[in-house]
């Protein structure tokens, strides 16, 4: 609009009004078309998904409650056993959390290296910066399940394949987030350190990391929370932990629903607990930065 009025030649109000109206109309048309395309995509996509599913959406909709109801009623009948079952599955839960914690730690270290080596102005080898960026893109793109399944075949079931798989993905994901933070880091401390003859690792350790640490820790906590979910899911495909217990309990079917219920409760409680803890610490970290 601004350049029309600044065009120089005086225009009548009517002209401006009509061109404004035309513009609004065109914008509405585009907006409407976008929404139309979006709706068509959603509806046809839903129909395709519905067609290719074993059970239909509308038949399934009223059955949603059946399974939880069965599980809950059986768990309620055997509620006396529930604490015992929860205690029994607890070691598996600890394993799941351990997988998440170790893979977050390894991923954190990997992410720090990938981000520092792949950030303009910080990289040790400036020519290789695009290479490290591509590496972290690729590591991020590999879903955990791919590596986990292949490693289960080679290493056998257990926590190690899941740990490696999650750590691999975490390193890539954190590498990207970290390098966004590192891009905004102040380079003056780095220059100061360089003038004293500090090596690259000293510059990074003393000049960059103290600046970015709160953000790095905050992202890592968020990642830890995500990784707990991931390690539970990977257990379901054979890599140890609570997910594996859940699959076994489910395979038993009715009669052992109390076990499944115990695992559901444990998993739910864990996720909510770590969600709350990590969001509290993250708030504190990001608030502390403003001061």
């Amino acid at each position: 609009m601004a350049d029309i009025s600044a065009g120089g030649a005086p225009q009548s109000v009517g002209n401006i009004q009509s061109s404004y109206k035309a513009q609004v109309q065109r914008r509405r048309l585009y907006g409407g078309l976008t929404i139309l395309i979006f709706v068509v995509l959603m509806v046809s996509g839903f129909n395709i998904a519905d067609d290719r599913n074993a059970g239909g959406f509308w038949e399934g909709l009223h059955q949603i409650g059946h399974y939880p109801a069965d599980v809950l009623s059986e768990a309620w009948e055997k509620r006396a056993d529930l604490p015992g079952l929860i205690a029994k599955s607890f070691p598996a839960l600890v394993e799941t959390i351990n997988i998440a914690a170790v893979s977050t730690l390894i991923g954190l270290v990997g992410g720090i290296f990938l981000s520092l080596l792949g950030t303009r102005g910080l990289g040790k080898w400036p020519r290789l910066i695009p290479l490290f960026r591509r590496i972290s893109d690729i590591m991020r793109a590999v879903p955990e399940i791919v590596i986990a399944l292949v490693l289960i075949f080679v290493l056998g079931g257990g926590p190690v394949p899941a740990m490696i798989a999650i750590a691999f993905h975490t390193a890539g994901a954190l590498g990207k987030m970290f390098s966004e933070v590192a891009e905004n880091a102040d380079l003056k401390p780095v220059e100061g350190l360089a003038s004293t003859g500090a090596t690259w690792s000293q510059r990074m350790l003393l000049g960059v990391l103290p600046q970015v640490a709160p953000n790095y820790i905050s992202y890592s906590l968020l990642r830890f929370e995500i990784n707990i979910r991931a390690s539970a899911i990977l257990g379901f495909v054979g890599a140890g932990g609570i997910g594996y217990e859940l699959r076994n309990a489910m395979a038993w079917g009715p009669g052992r629903f109390d076990e499944a219920a115990a695992i559901f409760i444990l998993l739910f409680g864990t996720i909510v607990f770590f969600d709350q803890v990590s969001s509290r610490y993250r708030n504190r970290l990001t608030e502390g930065q403003g001061q």
């Binding site: 839903f46 998904a49 599913n53 059970g55 959406f57 399974y67 495909v237 559901f264």
Partner: protein, 437 residues
């Protein structure tokens, strides 16, 4: 006076440094101790025994090469040639690979002077350079051979089964059948199976050459034969990738559509009733806390396996996540714009439309597009559990433990799919709300 003050400051500074040093030393020490602990809890020392190096070698070599089986059925004397020993890869009647020759005596040239001869009456001769000629006779269920007592480690022999591994290929002999595996680099029959007329034709002759199949044009025929390739199932793979992307798309967008109105209920500024606000938030926390895994398990009972179940699992979990993010974004909107809109006499609905939505849309879109990419990965994993999409094909291919080249193919496709979605969502974000830089 100043002296005591100074010494006090020094004392506090010393204390501070001591604490910092303690933290600087203590935290890495705790992490190190934890990792050492994990080292034994996860039984890493025992991993070496559990690890199956043979599996790793098969995996590494199979993922980029293929083998052709030459099999003699020792009962009927019939000889068959098949890629990967699969029926789908069998050579049509009367055709065989060009490294096999002879009629009475079948000579198989593995290359590098390794030669196997199938002689009449179930006899086999194997020539390996630097080793005396091996002769094996199969009778009923047992084997007799001229192998010496002490064998090199590339031969394993009993009177039931003999296995010989040469650098050029592998030979296994049992009473029932004699089999030679000849290895070649590359993914076999990736474009066309052996029964297709376009197999072994160069690209030029398909595009510009004579019509190979009288009934259809070359390009149409070639595309259709490739699309319906029984070995690699390109059509099914394409559908599976489509399903995975569909799950991510429908799940993310559906969640966003559901979460937006709910987020208004959960935001302090727009929802005056404390109880309603708090209960909406608890709902968000609940669906998020239950996690996609449990939702998948529950929903698959109601809807059966397939992409719809995966879609709904993503949709429900992300409704919680989006609800939380959206309501936080809504609480941070600038009041001034809303006041400005309402000063023109707009009703509350118009205030939302023109005062609030334009402020939050960039934040919302950025989140939605980020989740679209991350949900593509989740959809792969959920697909492996519910049975839909490329995740299912990958798990099946790994579980059969046979076609590692297919596994490699799927992995490459998955990585490309996720990178494509990453690029696409970034591109869309740039188009819709301007790029970040």
């Amino acid at each position: 006076m100043t002296a005591t003050y100074l010494s006090l400051t020094k004392h506090t500074a010393d204390k501070l440094f001591q604490r910092k040093r303690l933290i600087g030393f203590g935290i890495p020490a705790i992490i190190f101790a934890y990792l050492v602990c994990i080292f034994f809890v996860f039984d890493l020392p025992g991993l070496a025994q559990r690890a199956n190096i043979d599996n790793a070698v098969t995996l590494a070599s199979d993922s980029w090469s293929h083998k052709v089986h030459v099999t003699r059925d020792n009962r009927s004397g019939e000889i068959s040639y098949a890629v990967e020993g699969e029926r789908k890869g069998r050579y049509p009647e009367g055709q065989r690979p060009d490294w096999v020759s002879g009629d009475e005596v079948i000579t198989i040239d593995l290359g590098g002077d390794n030669i196997v001869r199938y002689l009449p009456e179930n006899r086999t001769e194997i020539e390996v350079p630097g080793f005396p000629l091996i002769e094996v006779q199969a009778e009923g269920r047992s084997l007799t051979s001229n192998l010496p007592e002490d064998l090199p480690d590339w031969i394993s022999a009993s009177n039931r089964r003999i296995g010989i591994t040469t650098p050029e290929g592998r030979i296994t002999l049992t009473g029932a059948r004699t089999e030679v595996f000849n290895y070649f680099p590359g993914w076999e029959l990736f474009w066309f199976t052996l029964d297709s007329p376009y197999h072994d034709q160069s690209l030029g002759s398909i595009l510009f050459g004579e019509r190979l199949d009288p009934e259809r044009g070359n390009i149409a025929g070639a595309v259709s034969d490739w699309w319906h390739n029984k070995m690699w199932r390109h059509k099914d793979v394409a559908w599976a990738i489509g399903e995975t992307i569909l799950m991510a798309f429908l799940g993310t967008m559906g969640a966003a559509i559901l979460a937006l109105p709910l987020a208004f209920l959960a935001a302090k500024r727009f929802s005056p009733f404390m109880l309603l606000r708090a209960s909406t938030r608890r709902v968000f926390d609940f669906v998020r806390g239950v996690d996609a895994l449990i939702w998948t398990v529950v929903l698959v009972r109601a809807f059966g396996p397939g992409p719809l179940t995966g879609t709904l699992a993503i949709l429900i979990t992300d409704t919680g996540t989006f609800g939380k993010i959206f309501s936080e974004a809504l609480e941070n909107v600038d009041q001034k714009q809303i006041e400005g809109v309402s000063s023109t006499g707009a009703n509350p609905l118009q205030c939302y439309r023109f005062g609030v939505i334009p402020q939050v849309v960039p934040v919302l879109l950025a989140q939605i597009l980020y989740f679209l990419e991350s949900n593509t990965r989740s959809a792969t994993i959920i697909g492996a559990i519910t049975g839909g999409g490329i995740g299912l094909m990958l798990t099946q291919a790994i579980q059969t433990q046979k076609d590692w080249e297919e596994v490699a193919y799927y992995i490459v496709l998955i990585v490309f799919m996720v990178m494509f979605m990453d690029w696409f969502s970034g591109w869309l974000r740039g188009k819709l709300i301007g790029s970040k830089d």
